[in-house]
């Protein structure tokens, strides 16, 4: 690989970088838009614990829904976050991680399937989450693969202990199983769609690929992130009453463009289907930016629409309270 190719870009020269300097710097005691170098210096000076505490507290989040399948550790546990930022922690259980944990000890394919089901029933979850977009893509079949097919796939998987779950038949079986258990337990199923880490192929993450699955899904479904397919996601929320749209990850990254992107979602998405989240991970900055930028986006849109007489102040307030927390709390059955 040539030297030129391996040159890394300056991580602050992007809308995300500007947002960090604009919004996070004051929380850490610097002027807004302090230079990147000063920000990093100050961050190191304070230490991760203090930085996390200040940024998470400033987010003003009362309920942390945390996917525990990503980077296990003290900071990302729901209770750890709640301890740092205040409020209550809730666990979002990644179903592929459940299956992979079970695989380590399963001794037969039938046992593997049964134990996955049992583990989904007892997982201490406020919601399930699937990252099948990373493993295979979102073109899930309309109906669950037959047991015999799943057993065949499980037999292969068991031969390679500790390997990640990538078989499409088994992934489809697990997602359908989680949807059924979720319906039974009253838990929504969150599905990663749209952009993310570099190992994802964008075209495999278009939520439109979920259409067949969504038609038959027995549980509530949340389409996470969605960008740049957020209009497709909004369409799905428009035609299916059990589909919801979350722009976590998107809003912190697009920064000053948050209102523009949210406006595109609201073109078709019912107001009650849109959910705030930050998708904060690794960096506490993302949690704080999510909170600030979502609020600013919702306020910018409702202000502009009020100026056009497109809605009343009562409408605006209901819309804001719903998107900024009420919709997610109702869907996940959290009491205020």
């Amino acid at each position: 690989m040539s030297e030129a190719k391996s040159a890394r870009r300056h991580p602050f020269r992007s809308l995300l970088g500007l947002s960090v300097r604009r919004w996070c710097a004051p929380v850490l005691g610097m002027p807004a838009l302090a230079p990147a170098e000063e920000y990093l210096w100050r961050r190191a000076e304070l230490g991760w614990h203090e930085v996390s505490k200040q940024l998470l507290t400033a987010a003003g989040v009362r309920h942390w829904f945390v996917d525990t399948g990503y980077v296990p550790g003290p900071v990302t546990s729901p209770s750890g976050l709640a301890e740092l930022g205040g409020g209550t922690g809730h666990e979002v259980v990644r179903i592929e991680a459940v299956a992979e944990a079970v695989q380590k000890t399963a001794t037969s394919p039938e046992g593997l399937l049964d134990k996955i089901k049992a583990a989904l029933y007892v997982a201490p979850a406020i919601a399930f989450k699937s990252i099948v977009a990373y493993r295979w893509g979102l073109a899930l079949p309309a109906v669950q693969p037959a047991r015999a097919e799943a057993v065949r796939a499980a037999t292969s998987w068991l031969r390679a202990k500790d390997s990640p779950l990538t078989d499409p038949v088994l992934l489809a079986w697990v997602v359908h199983e989680a949807a059924r258990v979720g319906a039974d337990r009253g838990l929504p199923l969150q599905i990663h769609t749209g952009f993310g880490d570099p190992d994802l192929r964008l075209s495999s993450s278009d939520p439109d690929l979920l259409t067949d699955f969504l038609r038959g899904a027995p549980c509530q479904v949340v389409l996470l992130h969605c960008y740049p397919f957020h209009r497709n996601a909004a369409y799905l929320a428009h035609v299916f009453d059990h589909v919801h749209v979350d722009l976590g990850l998107t809003i912190p990254f697009v920064g000053v463009r948050s209102a523009a992107v949210l406006a595109e979602v609201l073109e078709l998405a019912p107001f009650d289907s849109v959910l705030y989240s930050s998708d904060g991970n690794v960096l506490p900055e993302l949690h704080y930016l999510g909170a600030v930028l979502w609020r600013r986006a919702v306020n910018a849109l409702t202000d502009a629409w009020l100026a056009e007489d497109a809605l009343t102040t009562a409408d605006a307030e209901r819309l804001a309270l719903g998107i900024l927390g009420g919709n997610a709390m109702r869907l996940h059955r959290v009491t205020p």
Copy 2:
């Protein structure tokens, strides 16, 4: 299905709902943005005939182009609409409905094909319309399937009397036939693209899939609705002089975002290729909203562009008159 899943969303909590309260309420004698419950109560009080009359008249439409294949009935007939709203009614003939009507009485596959062609020649149409996006998708072949293939497909279809036309070979044959008859008769072919009812798969309705068909199409073609693929549709109107773009259905639904969506279309679409329509159906509100919101969108854009010196007032007027009626009238050969 769980109780949660079957919960219906409040139909007014969307940009469409806000537009109904903002624009239709005053027509029916209420204040702008009257609460949804009052709107529904008032609507019931007035009765469908009076509501339709007031909203359709307020639309100020002089020529109603009505697709008679959707919900047959007194309100949706072209003359019925014209009687309620003033002006003149014109019939848009749905070609799949023509084929299905002929199938009921056809006795041989050859006869079926010949009768479809004959029916297209005599149909009292101002335009043809295809909903092949709902039946198979828009990936039509570049050339018409051979007669022998069509006969084979017709043979199968005739065995199931009164079944809808879903065979891809026969659908392609019918669309190509309508394009040829349309060219002969000087009738445009309107094609549903983009979003619509829940039985549609979004990715099968991308107008880009029509590229091969459009290259060889002998008639004028109107891409209807288009959202969220409206930029793709605009590109097709940009490269093909016989392709036009209509944002009916889209504009009423996206409400306060109408100008934003129309602006995206005008990035590439020639000004003379963009056609106003409401795609009003079932609810007279949609007809009125189409009329109001298209006008507001065009005015908002031309005002903003005039403020930037991007065009002259004469340019703005020609653009507005074209999009808001002139382009559609010229294309459909309606005299003012």
Copy 3:
């Protein structure tokens, strides 16, 4: 083809047409927004040489990067452009044209492959460019086709002397070869993506199709044009440090919408990855519009973001200088 179908649209009734009248007319001594007929009359009066000279000079471009594979002739040669417009000319070498030139004289498939490689090593290029989107589409394989496969494809191609290069195996072999030679020589590989001439199929030109190729590409890659897939292109520049985005062609065409489209790119694209270019071809107007509209777009965005306190004036200046020339000069190793 019916008379109606063959009717050509008025070329000035589009955002591009408005921009020509708005920005090019004053350069040629007319008032802004002079009528199209007067513009064309004045253009004819001045003659192509004078028109080109005035518009190219007004563009204020110091380094002309010119793809010499499109329309060979005096105006489009890099030195010809530089003579007319001032500054220095640099050649962008179209790799399919290189292969086709070699094919005319090659006598064996092995010789053809070797000579293509040799020609790429000696071509007087500041960058390579591929138009594989027009020939096959962008779904390139992750690794170069094996030599034996390429030899087989070359054998077939040699049988049809002077035919264009359309074989997918050979196209993929040539693009991978150019990437390797480009890495060796320090030359970026520019790839046409998104819209263009009517012989292109939009869906085959989505830069997302390049994902596998980009993962392994050893050289810097510039995604050209990108529209309407510019958000996909920006995503690729976001995840791959060696991928850059150029909105040439797009910006001149979308005119008054330039800032809106550029804003969508900047949602994810790192600021250092976005490159100004005009993609001017045939018409000198496109060069001038590129220069004017890119500057206006960047200024409009930075002004709006400054008003929101989203960045400092120093940030705005660096962003503008980078996008409007610095990023392209650094990438192509041109000294100011």
